[in-house]
């Protein structure tokens, strides 16, 4: 065996190398946790897996209406925690033809004496239908401001693309209002 001190030095150097590698891996995994956030959002948007909808208006353009097919649209309204609104939809259920434009009217009323700012988050089930839903007009595109006790009609104009796969016969579109009066407008993470 060679001089024990050179051996000790090689071990010390090797120890240091292992520590550096492991610490870098650990930091990398910590960073990866954050890096997947935008990736996850893009992934969900492209695939529609999470039922999240792009918050941009589409342009209305007449397209072939598929009269032969009927799809049941259901509309669901919900309030997050204690958002002080009364929120409902005029037509909870609607039979539609893919390719045709429809307007559905939602109603929301501020139940307090204060101004309420709220934001509606849409969600579609099944998630695979998300990419076939186009909205021309929606109150979910921006925050909504309600004066004390104000009652407002909130129309949604949409079309289901005629390319919708045949096996999807029911689509649920739900909106949840979140009270954001107390939070200053914060940048979303996407």
């Amino acid at each position: 065996m060679t001089n024990p001190h050179t051996k000790d030095n090689t071990i010390a150097r090797s120890n240091r190398r292992i520590i550096v590698i492991i610490v870098l891996v650990a930091l990398g995994m910590f960073g990866l946790g954050f890096a997947v956030v935008p990736l996850y959002n893009v992934f969900c948007e492209v695939t529609g897996l999470s039922g999240k909808i792009r918050a941009e208006a589409a342009i209305e353009k007449p397209q072939g209406v598929d009269e032969s097919r009927e799809v049941t649209m259901e509309f669901v309204t919900a309030l997050n925690q204690d958002t002080p609104l009364n929120f409902r939809v005029e037509t909870p259920k609607l039979k539609i033809h893919p390719g045709q434009y429809y307007t559905v009217r939602f109603h929301a009323e501020n139940l307090t004496d204060q101004v309420v700012t709220a934001r509606a988050i849409p969600s579609v089930a099944p998630g695979t239908a998300t990419q076939f839903l186009e909205k021309v007009e929606c109150f979910c595109f921006s925050e909504q401001r309600f004066e004390p006790h104000q009652h407002r009609v909130l129309p949604v104009r949409f079309v289901i693309d005629a390319a919708l796969p045949a096996e999807i016969r029911d689509i649920t579109l739900s909106y949840t209002f979140f009270d954001i009066s107390n939070k200053q407008q914060n940048s979303s993470t996407r």
């Binding site: 891996v25 910590f30 997947v36 089930a125 993470t189």
Partner: protein, 533 residues
């Protein structure tokens, strides 16, 4: 205690620092000795086991009968949350880390761990973490109560204790990563001549793989809880739907950590059992290399099955199918291990001392937990089992008669080596039977409760569930109090008794280097490295 009595005392080293431990309390604060640190870890673990156990008894007391009797629902939820966090991070993980510290240098023929000062740090972070976690019980709004999974948005409603919970997790995470660094470095650089990787005892191998899992997933968990923290206090919207975030993302991050974490809790047990069964069957371990590869593949597969905890979040069918098949695949290497243990016992000259009894119970009862896991891996079936007592039964079968039994088996197995005295075999057997019977009385009925639809994490339930819950509570109390006997047996063996031989168990010296050192081993283990044939 003199440290000069190394076994191979024919070649005395003249330049080693041959001092024994310092005296008094400060010995434990400053110690960089792997055995001292191992002991500290294990004592901490035992204390946490009793505290977490007391919380479990609060839960079982309330669930003894339907209706609300002893605690309010908020406190009940704090108990379920703290019980899980303390048992996972305070009892099981530190116990394995303690055994790793004590045994790995001895088993690979090294004088100590590679990074002794880091070792001191990684232990001493723990008490701070747990004092902080325990202090949350006295804060405004109480301890965290959203379950150990800390799902948003619920967890964001936690009161003042929220940031303390998150910082506890950060501290414990840093501590585990430091322990993992130390173990990997030690095993890679400190092996005795001739101790090739494929000769490593399985306890060492399983710990190396566990260490890699820790390094890969603890930072992800730390990241996820940091996002919770910024969502609550700094207005980010990682998981806040109103701001464009998605609470389901948290579940993906959590379970990307969480599933490997459950293997962090079981792989070292596989190692312990693989040490014990050959000793008491007086045969070499059957299929050593397949054991190593099976452990490694379990480790790798554990990264790609996380969403079997999320079958009900609305995944597309392709996702449900993928996670179902990937999860079932894990049963293959797990099965390899179980068959190898059974083959090791086959035609062995077996004796049934307490460690072997616990090891055999481990093989049987852990396998049952694996089977219920397999049932839940089938996504259409899991829609029924999810969030019921069935899953509570599943994970308690893999964690109590799994991880905890392996720890008890390991304790009885190595206790004579650690203390130099044999434990009381009669009391050990009594402890085994009390524990094994009561663990089944506690958790077996929970399968039926779950199948009948009783949800988990609730303080009250419908009357048709009363009988099985009463059984379960009775079992839990017997189990809990039986552990006082365990502590008594340990204290008794520490204080004296029949002197243990170096080999301790008949023929054990063929099964590992630890049995070639005196009992107890000198303060510095292998000052002269042994040569491994």
């Amino acid at each position: 205690m003199s440290a000069s009595a190394a076994t191979h005392d024919d070649h005395h080293d003249d330049h080693h620092d041959d001092h024994g431990p310092a005296k008094g309390f400060m010995r434990w604060v400053y110690t960089t000795n792997h055995k001292d640190i191992g002991t500290l870890y294990m004592i901490t673990s035992l204390i946490m086991f009793m505290i977490g156990g007391a919380m479990a008894l609060v839960i079982r007391l309330e669930l003894f009968e339907p209706g609300m009797q002893y605690v309010d629902p908020g406190f009940f939820n704090q108990m379920t949350t703290l019980h899980a966090l303390i048992m996972v991070f305070g009892a099981v993980m530190p116990a394995f880390a303690g055994m790793a510290n004590w045994m790995i240098p001895i088993m690979i023929g090294a004088p100590d761990m590679a990074l002794p000062r880091l070792n001191n740090w990684s232990f001493w972070l723990l008490p701070f973490g747990f004092v902080m976690l325990a202090s949350t019980l006295f804060m405004e709004g109480g301890a965290p109560a959203a379950g150990w999974t800390l799902y948003p948005p619920l967890v964001l409603q936690t009161g003042d204790s929220f940031p303390f919970t998150i910082f506890t997790i950060h501290i414990l995470g840093i501590s585990s990563i430091m322990a993992a660094i130390n173990i990997i470095t030690t095993v890679l650089n400190m092996r005795a001549p001739g101790m090739t990787m494929m000769k490593l005892p399985l306890f060492v191998w399983t710990w190396v793989i566990t260490a890699f899992l820790l390094i890969a997933v603890m930072p992800v968990f730390a990241g996820a809880v940091t996002m919770l923290l910024t969502d609550k206090y700094f207005g980010t919207s990682f998981f806040n739907a109103a701001g464009g975030g998605d609470p389901v993302l948290y579940q993906h991050l959590f379970w990307f950590f969480g599933h490997p974490e459950v293997y962090i809790l079981i792989l070292p047990s596989f190692g312990i059992i693989s040490q014990i069964i050959p000793t008491f069957a007086r045969k070499p371990l059957f299929g050593y290399s397949s054991m190593v590869y099976a452990t490694a593949s379990i480790g790798l597969l554990s990264f790609v099955v996380w969403a079997h905890h999320q079958y009900t979040v609305g995944m597309p069918i392709a996702g449900e199918l993928y996670f179902t098949y990937a999860t079932m695949l894990i049963a293959v290497p797990t099965g390899v291990k179980v068959f190898n243990w059974i083959s090791t016992m086959w035609r062995g000259s077996m004796t049934f001392e307490t460690p072997m009894l616990f090891a055999i119970a481990f093989v049987m009862l852990f396998t049952m937990g694996g089977f219920t896991g397999l049932m839940m891996s089938i996504s259409p079936a899991d829609l029924q089992y999810h969030d019921t007592y069935f899953i509570v039964a599943h994970f308690h079968y893999v964690l109590v008669p799994g991880s905890v039994f392996a720890l008890m088996a390991g304790t009885y197995y190595w206790l004579p080596k650690w203390t130099g005295y044999m434990y009381d075999e009669r009391l050990g057997k009594l402890h085994f039977w009390l524990t094994t019977i009561s663990v089944n009385v506690t958790f077996f009925p929970q399968h039926f409760l779950g199948l009948a639809g009783m949800p988990r994490r609730i303080p009250d339930y419908a009357v048709q569930f009363a009988e099985f819950n009463a059984w379960s509570s009775v079992g839990a109390f017997v189990f809990g109090f039986s552990q006082l006997l365990f502590i008594y047996i340990i204290i008794k063996a520490v204080r004296g008794g029949q002197k243990a031989t170096d080999e301790v168990w008949e023929g054990a010296s063929e099964h590992g280097l630890e049995w070639q050192l005196p009992s107890p081993p000198p303060y510095h283990s292998w000052i002269t490295a042994p040569f491994v044939k």
